[in-house]
Subunit: 315 residues, 3 copies
């Protein structure tokens, strides 16, 4: 694997899932594979699961992780080519990435969308600059449009818990008080589509359509109850409007999943990438129930990262 920023970088999703599950059973199986290698983990945004699980995965493979909080510990970065840097950014990504290219063997980057320019975010300006200028294999720790380590962990979790050949998976929009990126939703859709072993539909209020680039042929149903019928897995996630980029247009709290919504499902397992705003996105009763897979998804972040880093090491 040359880079990991999208499911398109993966040759065979099922094989990668099997590899991850193999590491889950044998965490230290390849504990010397990455000896002498360093991964630089650059955070331009907060991170808890990603930060911790990537470190653990790297260590399990013998790779030395070195973390940098780009803005607070290092320097505020500039991403615009040709910028006259007389503002608040202190270092251009060109220069930073070239230096990272000298210091590390793998570069992992977390860079949320900035919601300033829809096209720039859609084109993954930031992570592409790191790819272009570092010359290193890049692993996305969440970028402007995708969060592939999360999605791989999600598919691992579904693989572990599915009871039928072709489960019904529903991605449902949930309310939130803030303008939230599309990454997790886009990425989940992209991975479920690439995985191909599910009946997949997405439900959200009108106006919250995600980019077709990621949702592909998934059925879109605006009636949440209709969508949830016979669901085996319900993936709950807020995202802001894509059309009216970044806007919070719907505040209808009835979209928050409760036990009442669950009645029409096939005793569905409930998923969320975390962090979750309790009783806004998802009710306590569901998060604390046996149907919740959220902690298991988080645990699988380790094996997701370990499988990916292992593939990256093998080039």
């Amino acid at each position: 694997m040359k880079q990991f920023i999208s499911v398109k970088d993966v040759e065979d999703v099922k094989l990668l899932v099997r590899k991850a599950l193999h590491y889950k059973a044998n965490p230290l199986k390849d504990s010397t594979l990455g000896l002498g290698k360093r991964i630089g983990c650059i955070f331009m945004n907060p991170s808890m699961r990603t930060r911790l699980s990537t470190q653990i995965a790297a260590k399990n493979l013998g790779i030395e992780p070195i973390l940098l909080n780009a803005g607070s510990e290092g320097w505020a970065l500039e991403f615009e080519d040709g910028a006259i840097m007389n503002g608040t950014s202190v270092e251009h990504v060109k220069d930073a990435a070239r230096v990272f290219g000298k210091y590390f063997d793998i570069l992992a980057v977390r860079a949320f969308p900035r919601f300033q320019n829809k096209e720039e975010d859609a084109n993954e300006l930031i992570i592409k600059q790191f790819i272009k200028h570092s010359g290193l294999p890049i692993v996305s720790l969440e970028s402007s449009t995708l969060h592939p380590l999360q999605s791989l962990a999600d598919i691992i979790t579904i693989t572990e818990h599915k009871k039928t050949e072709r489960p019904k998976i529903v991605l449902t929009w949930a309310p939130h008080i803030k303008s939230i990126p599309h990454c997790v939703a886009n990425s989940f859709a992209q991975w479920v589509n690439a995985w191909g072993e599910a009946e997949f539909c997405i439900t959200h209020p009108e106006g919250y359509e995600l980019s077709k680039e990621f949702t592909g042929d998934a059925r879109i149903i605006h009636d949440q109850k209709e969508a949830l019928k016979n669901a085996d897995f319900v993936y709950v996630k807020n995202w802001s409007s894509y059309k009216n980029y970044g806007a919070v247009e719907c505040t209808d709290t009835s979209w928050m999943l409760t036990q009442n919504h669950m009645k029409v499902t096939n005793n569905a397992k409930v998923m969320h990438c975390l962090p979750v705003r309790r009783n806004i996105e998802l009710s306590d009763e569901i998060l604390d129930s046996e149907n919740s897979l959220v902690s298991l998804q988080a645990e699988n972040r380790i094996w997701s990262a370990q499988a990916v880093l292992s593939e990256i090491l093998k080039g």
Copy 2:
């Protein structure tokens, strides 16, 4: 040892002190005891000695420390059960702790009192949430009411420097410009009482009574000079009012320990947990004198943490 949040978690204080002193003489004696184990160190507040000494202690035992500044690097945590999370907190401790439970073998948490609700702080709401939801052995790196790694280091230091069977130890209040937690004072009192090898008294202005839960049978003397008479050890510390919770009621600078105060003591050793505001809590002349044990206390934080982590590893 199942957890370490109070002296009550310790079966035999003297044995633990001996264990710590044994590590001080042989830091790498058990350097493989914790191989393959990870300790998550979660900081909700600043920390210098605790942050550094815990890392060193863990490494000495072969445990891998992974640090997280919860608020700045990760997400602001919510602690109220049933909260409708439409405010500034992004993740509930329930979810965070459950994830930590998947990532680590031991969890160390630093969470100062929030001074918003006396009862909540007294009940150790925050650290108890971590205990309840992580399922891991928890080590307190200072909580709402106690700072046991500090107190163990203090007893280690006293053990090293006492010249009599039963030294006189005086805990004296000192002035400060801010509202300071009761943790170090509470904890010191609790440990000296549990240790039991001292004549122990506490001196403070009226209105600064600590909770009897921690001070137990210690003599309370409001006349500082009277209290200091023949003291072998003087532990200097500010705390805010407990009764009028968090208030700074006394600004009488004569409570600041100077060489003049020392005359009535038995050439006492002077202790403080650090950080100390010089010439507010304690005078330069004392801190820079040979009677000061403050750096040695800080050094003993390593062996305190190492003894505790070793006991935790042994379960």
Copy 3:
């Protein structure tokens, strides 16, 4: 080597450069030299290259690096002797340094000038306090007046790229929008002088004279074009006024190096310590040209630090 805060701590610059280049060819040659040793890296200011390269260098030698962001993770430090600490600083450097002395074998400190008091900065008050009170060998990660790890990396880079016995090196002032320390410029001048294998001149607008303490016998030429004639290396750097301490007096953008300025040089290599404000200090066209050595300088920071730490370990 007892400490590394200035070129004066180095017995033989050329030997140190050779040592660094030897590590560059054999990074893990001395990978057990520092086993069991810890270096504390204390950051009072942001840092990217220094933070990363010092960690890598330490690890290459088997030294365990432990990092602390002094102000945000730890406590705000006080540096004034005798201070009555009733302000915003929480811990005196005396106490912090003494504790570091107990925790580490080597102490590395980053402490920019504060621009409050010229004499205080000139006297290196801060780093000298760490030296005095920690009792440890101190490595400067950039101090009030100097940045020796950078300068050693610069001399390494020049050594690698020089084509003549005695190249012409020009240090040229560049525009900037902020008040920038003199450290890199001072330090570069000090090291080039000590190295002694160059024809060295400095060019800057009038009023931007650096301290003679560092520039020594270097020729000062106020006509930039005149200075650049036949240059083999051009080191570009902004600094604020030293005379009118910290002031930004010149905003003449014609001082920004462009390809046009390069015509009179001997196809000079261009250097900068990074971070660089593109199109303010240096033009894109130069930074992205083959003449730019800036990434190689950054890479050499690893070998610079490794050579220094190795010498420090040998005492």
